[in-house]
Every structure is written in C-alpha cells, then in structure tokens.
Symmetry: C2
Subunit: 259 residues, 2 copies
C-alpha cells in the first residue's frame, strides 16, 4: 500500500474508555484514523443495532485526533454510521477495542468489541478485535507494539473476504508473555450466573446476570487454552457465511423428502 492506510476505530466500552485511547496511540502514526465509538458502555451488545430509536452523533474533542465522534448506540451502529455518513471512502480496516476482559472462545458473539469488527465484515471491510484478559486492572502499555505489528501485517496481507481476526492478550504487564499463537476458537466463555436478589422496598425478586469465566476442560491448541499458558492468541473468525456444510450434505435429501 503506497498511501497511509485508513483505519476506523471503535469499541464497546465507550469513547471515554482507556482501551480506545491506547488503540489510537498505537496506530496514529501508521494510519489515518477515524474514531467513532458509543457514548456509553455497551459491553455484551454483540452485533445488536438500534432500529427503534434515533441515534445522535457528537463530535469529540480529543488531543491531536481530528475525526472523532461518539454515538448514542452500539459498536455496530457506530460502524454503520461511520461507513455511510462520516467517511468519504471506505476504510482499509476496522479495528475495535482494546477491550478489558477476554473475548476468546465462545465469548466472541456476545462481545460488542467483536460486534464492531463483524459490522465491518458485513460491508466487506476486514477487521481486527483486540482484548486483554484482565477486566479489573487491565494493562495496555505492552500491547502497543504487538498491535502495530499485527495491524501492519493484516494491511500488507489482506484477510480473506468475510474473515476477521480476534486477538486476545493474556493477563500480563508484558514481561512474561510467552509468544503469540495463531490458533482456533476455544469453547470457554463467560457464563451467566443470574443472581437472585430482592428489591429494597417492593419485596419482589429480580435477577442480575453475572459473569464467571469457565476455564476448565478447554480443548487443546485453542485460544482459551493458549491464553491460560501466557500466550497472545489470534484467531481468524469467519462470519460472512455460517452454513454447517457437512450437515447440509448429509441431511439434504432426508429433510426435503419430509414435505
């Protein structure tokens, strides 16, 4: 690529979250950035979009960055609006994050961070989602050189159409990172643990969906497995077509014969 690549940044933690600032810091010298992120935190919003309410967009005053907006919607809303209304040319890449909390394994479809990257894929624009495992005291400094390297590699060696890269960093301040694994998606996920509680005055019960990561019995050589061993993981995730082709082949005749 002879010109500077154009990159659209988003996240699901909102425009004020530290993660997206680090992402901008990592990429501002190597790319022309447009930044469009939710005004509020939208964790676990997946690929949801806002179709029943209007959306407001506000310009954000942010250091040296000129093209920064926040949106009263989800990461997928942000990407839709940026592509259709705020960028004259489509970006070369959508980069989403950095999310505090793992989006490895089966978490990815729940993740608003990954949702932002999926929305790019729906418009045939490749994407990368970045997350760090620790969501309590996330550390980002050491991720910057990795992010630069991964983004440059993807710009120079385009992803297949319909595929994004889901990158997760292990809980670390950088010194003990074991390396990076290009690997497959694991089965672990944050599970719900709907806590039953009692309303303070009305006495009726309500629920709160908590989060607890399942870490046991992970299949070997998956992202969730390698992260536990201190590796950064990058999983190529295909979202454009999800057909179970083996089942389609095996059952087509018996299914269609039913009718």
């Amino acid at each position: 690529m002879n010109r500077k690549p154009k990159i659209l940044l988003t996240n699901d933690d909102g425009i004020r979250a530290p993660g997206i600032r680090y992402l901008a810091k990592a990429l501002e010298e190597v790319a022309d950035l447009t930044i469009m992120a939710p005004v509020d935190e939208k964790s676990a919003s997946g690929l949801s979009i806002t179709i029943k309410h209007p959306l407001s967009v506000q310009e954000v005053d942010w250091d040296d960055q000129k093209r920064v907006w926040c949106v009263t919607g989800t990461p997928a809303d942000c990407v839709k609006l940026a592509l259709s209304r705020y960028m004259s040319d489509p970006p070369d890449l959508v980069v989403s994050g950095i999310n505090p909390g793992s989006n490895a394994g089966r978490n990815l479809l729940y993740s608003g961070t990954v949702g932002g990257a999926i929305e790019g894929i729906m418009h045939n624009i490749p994407g990368i989602a970045f997350s760090v495992e620790d969501y309590i005291k996330p550390k980002f400094d050491h991720t910057l050189t990795y992010i630069q390297k991964i983004v440059s590699h993807v710009i120079e060696n385009p992803l297949p159409v319909g595929t994004l890269l889901n990158v997760n960093f292990p809980n670390s301040n950088g010194g003990d990172i074991q390396g990076i694994k290009f690997t497959r998606q694991g089965a672990g996920m944050w599970i719900e643990n709907p806590d039953q509680r009692i309303h303070p005055t009305e006495g009726h019960s309500y629920y709160w969906i908590g989060q607890k990561e399942i870490k046991e019995s992970e299949p070997e050589d998956t992202d969730t497995w390698w992260i536990q061993k201190g590796y950064i993981t990058a999983v190529p995730v295909h979202v454009a077509e999800l057909t179970d082709h083996r089942m389609l082949k095996e059952r087509k005749n018996s299914f269609e014969k039913l009718f």
Copy 2:
C-alpha cells in the same frame, strides 16, 4: 423419544407478539412448553445480553399455557434465565419466533430471534428459529403444519452439537408455496439506510437506521435466493466454533514468525 419433548419458546418481538402465540399453537399438543420472552420488542438485538442492569421476570396469564414468563431483557437473557432458574431439566429444543421479517442471509447474526436459538446452542441445546418474510402484514396460519413437521423431525433426528436451524417462510398465505429447500446461507441482508433528520426544536441532526432488503445478485441455491422463488428455506447454521480453518492452515507459520 418416549416422553413428550420439552421445548422452550422465545422470540424477539415480545410476549404480546402474534408470532409466539402461533408457535405455541403449533407445538402445544406435541410438546411440554415453557415460554419466556421479552416484555418489549427486542428486534435486531442479536445475541446481546443484559449485564449492566438487573432483570425482572413476571408470570404471564395466557390461555391454557401454565409456564409463561416475560423478562425485561433480550431473547438471550430469556433463554439464560429459563435454563438456569425456571426449568428443572434442560429442554430438548429451543424454538424462537415466529419473526415477522426475513432472517435469511446475513441477517441472522443481527436477529434477536436467531439470538435466542444461539443462546441455546451455547448451552449445547439445539434450536430452531422461524421467520416469515413479510414484516408489514405477516401471515402465520399456513406455517403451523410445517413448523410441527420440522420440529418433530429435529426432535427425532438431532442436530449436530453447535448447529441450529434457521427457517424462513416466503411472503405467502400458503397457497403458492413451492416447497421447502434445505440449503446454504445467502449473502443478502437488511441494510442500514441511516436517515438524517432534524430535531423538531433543537435544530441539530439525528439519524435513524432504516431497513431495506438487498435482493439483487444473490448467489444461487442459497436461502435468500430460494425465498424469492417462493420456497420455504431451512439452513443448518453452525455457531459454536467460527474459526476460518483454511486461513489458519495457510497463514499460521507466516503469522507466528512475525514475533
């Protein structure tokens, strides 16, 4: 199966929507039903879940159905709560719908209807999502016998672990249905057309994400292609692991060598 199958019903249009009433009507004689649906419409909520607010659950008075609740959350929230708090044994199947508006092609990851079925898959419970193409004046009567047949077939011939069935009916009152196709996912989707409008008193602009279905240049022999020709479509959709295995194989060495 010697006993009556246990089926959990949900939808994304809310407990008062006609679609889920038709679903219950189609299945109440062949299955033990538990019904848990959002109190409000949650269209386009995908697999999003509610983790930043508490959820309330209310029992719903509904004809002969005894186990009916509504939840102040998304379809995925409903399925999580039903499985963990409202069903003593896991259901044999999660059935979601009937949604007015196509969830064929690339719409499926945006769809709250499909999201309810995906949430079941995350707990290794198979699922089926049903939608009709027309979202303005949806017609459901003719779908009931098809739904009964498809559900019975899936109960007797279990889906592979991690795979759900995405079923879409063409715009029809039944008489002109051409048949049923067990097929692959198409590329069409409802696209955003963010309409820019002006606030009535404040004068600033806002956006509204509209919906417009792309119907052109569909690959042949896909769900979106067959629906246009008047067929019911059923697509086996695998969501448990989304790794792009071809890319993983081709790029593993060159990617890991970067670091």
